[in-house]
């Protein structure tokens, strides 16, 4: 059971499914096998939205998460939804503006101004890419260089520069952040 488990969670419309899609593309590119599942509400904006990934070197057995290695919480609405899969070793990345406190003290929390940084580069919707970039940089499950390639190759060209800027912002933020426990 050496699978690596990640959950990207937040509010519907924050781009969590897109972030997961970019990540699964990057992981395939790096030769890994993934299982990615989703949970969302029947609304196009708002409500709990999450995307889970189980990464294996070989075919994934059980495709849903049971013990998270990494958790992103981009909105308060997603704080309580993961209590059953957070372990003391789970790295929990939270947005410092939209999430008031870690879901449990028994985890490795990191609170960073992800949404504020997105606003800083001119589009709050890039918080998903900034967060993905920070998480990949902190936890090392995927090279940010590969994420960059996927963004360049898969996104509509007019959105590529903005998202690459977000990716870079995330790398900078991760490198200057205090490392999690």
């Amino acid at each position: 059971m050496s699978d690596f488990q990640i959950r990207l969670s937040g509010s519907g419309g924050q781009g969590l499914q897109l972030a997961a899609k970019i990540l699964t593309g990057a992981l395939l590119h790096e030769g890994k096998r993934v299982a990615q599942s989703t949970s969302y509400e029947p609304t196009s904006r708002g409500g709990l939205s999450r995307s889970d990934l189980v990464i294996g070197e070989d075919a994934v057995g059980y495709p849903l998460v049971t013990d998270l290695d990494c958790l992103l919480i981009l909105d308060q609405v997603a704080v309580d939804g993961s209590l059953d899969v957070i372990r003391p070793s789970t790295l929990v990345l939270m947005d410092s503006e939209r999430v008031t406190a870690a879901p449990t003290p028994d985890c490795r929390p990191v609170s960073l101004p992800l949404v504020q940084a997105a606003r800083g580069i001119g589009n709050v919707r890039t918080a998903n890419i900034i967060a993905l970039s920070v998480l990949a940089e902190l936890a090392g499950f995927c090279r940010t260089e590969t994420l960059k390639q996927i963004i360049e190759n898969r996104m509509p060209p007019r959105f590529v520069p903005l998202n690459l800027e977000a990716l870079e912002a995330g790398i900078d933020m991760a490198r200057s952040a205090e490392p999690p426990k």
Binding site: K21, T24, G25, L28, K32, R33, V34, A35, Q36, S37, T38, S39, Y40, E41, P42, A59, V60, G61, Y62, P63, L64, T66
Partner: protein, 381 residues
């Protein structure tokens, strides 16, 4: 076998649509419904590329009618839906069964009853798949547990529909429908494809529903000059309505019998670690993925557990199951419903083995841990 790989990240619904086209599907009619909509979406994009036809119909009933018509016209056909739509398709599904028109119907199960929980998984439609349309009728239903198996079973669904001239239902849950997995498509490069048996020989005196010996009459190719009358009324070999008891008895024996005599081709089971199993877990779809993880955990804890997974859910692979259940102390049936397959399991073990369920139907998939805990608690009793 080639060792070359063709790895792709594919969603369950996406895999279903691509496999359908691979199997020869050239007509799709549907009415988008969560959590099956990506099947319609993919078909609408991909079918035109192979000179196929995609129609978004006005509703679910019309979608089912349209695929029956297109199949009678010679095409391999599919529609996809979820619970509420599956309810609406039932009457026409029975029509396809009685008129013996090959068709593939996908039901991506979500929380019910009624419109229920559109984005949440469930397995509450399995008895509906078996008995949803009225009257005694043949049913084939397949329940894949992974994206790769969705691909394989979709191809098989088309093959069985064409081989046996019958509707085939593919049943999976929202989790499998929306699950993205890395799959190796290389193994599907040259799949076995079954095509419809067309009537040949003398046109004069053609009897469209006469038994050629295997229970499956050859279909007349539209426009080939053979006279065919198609009706949902009970009919004899000539296809015309009858209420003659002897003719109807003959017809029904063939209609139901063609499934029984082809069980070898229809049944597919996946049996894991059952040789010495004290606990046999019977599961399908995403729940079987949890069950298999539970088997591994139970074995690590010293409990001899095994998995019996009916890939073909209907007709239920009875003989294979009985063999596995014979030596078990406990048969556990986890399912995302209030207890449906468990009824069939209880019937088959006839009180000889203890049977217990794990039933969660509130929108979340059953976890391996929940299955392990129930198995351990039941064994203590």
């Amino acid at each position: 076998m080639s060792t070359r790989q063709n790895l792709q990240n594919l969603q369950g619904n996406h895999a279903c649509a691509l496999a359908a086209i691979h199997a020869g599907c050239r007509f799709y009619a549907g009415y988008p419904i969560t959590p099956s909509s990506e099947i319609a979406e993919t078909m609408s994009a991909e079918l035109p590329k192979v000179d196929g036809l995609f129609i978004q119909m006005e509703d679910e009933i019309a979608s089912m009618g349209a695929i029956i018509g297109a199949s009678a016209g010679g095409a391999k056909v599919m529609t996809a839906t979820s619970g509420p739509g599956f309810s609406l398709k039932q009457e026409n599904l029975g029509y396809a069964a009685l008129t013996e028109i090959p068709s593939v119907i996908v039901n991506v199960m979500r929380g019910g009853p009624s419109t229920g929980m559109p984005t949440r998984p469930a397995q509450g439609d399995i008895m509906q798949a078996r008995w949803g349309t009225h009257g005694d009728h043949p049913t084939i239903a397949l329940t894949p547990w992974s994206v790769e198996e969705v691909y394989a079973e979709t191809i098989r669904a088309f093959n069985l529909a064409e081989l046996l001239r019958t509707p085939v239902i593919i049943l999976f849950d929202e989790v499998i429908g929306h699950l993205v997995e890395t799959v190796d498509l290389a193994r599907f490069e040259n799949p076995d494809i079954t095509d419809r048996k067309w009537a040949d020989g003398k046109i004069e005196g053609f009897r469209p529903y006469a038994d050629p010996g295997d229970g499956v009459p050859a279909m007349a190719r539209p426009g080939d000059g053979r006279r065919v009358h198609t009706t949902g009324l009970s009919h004899g070999e000539d296809g015309f309505p009858t209420q003659d008891a002897e003719l109807v008895a003959q017809f029904m024996a063939r209609l139901l019998g063609k499934i029984e005599t082809h069980r070898k081709e229809i049944e597919r089971v996946d049996i894991r670690s059952c040789d010495d199993a004290d606990v046999v877990i019977v599961a399908y779809g995403i729940t079987a993925r949890a069950a298999y993880r539970a088997v591994e955990t139970l074995r690590q804890r010293g409990v001899k557990a095994g998995l019996f997974r009916p890939v073909t859910l209907w007709p239920f692979p009875e003989d294979a199951f009985k063999k596995v259940a014979e030596r078990a102390r406990l048969v556990l049936v986890p399912e995302m419903n209030a207890g449906q397959l468990i009824l069939e399991i209880e019937r088959l073990v006839s009180g000889k083995t203890r049977v217990a369920g794990v039933n969660l139907y509130f929108g979340d998939p059953i976890t391996p841990q929940q299955i392990v805990e129930t198995a351990e608690a039941e064994l203590k009793q």
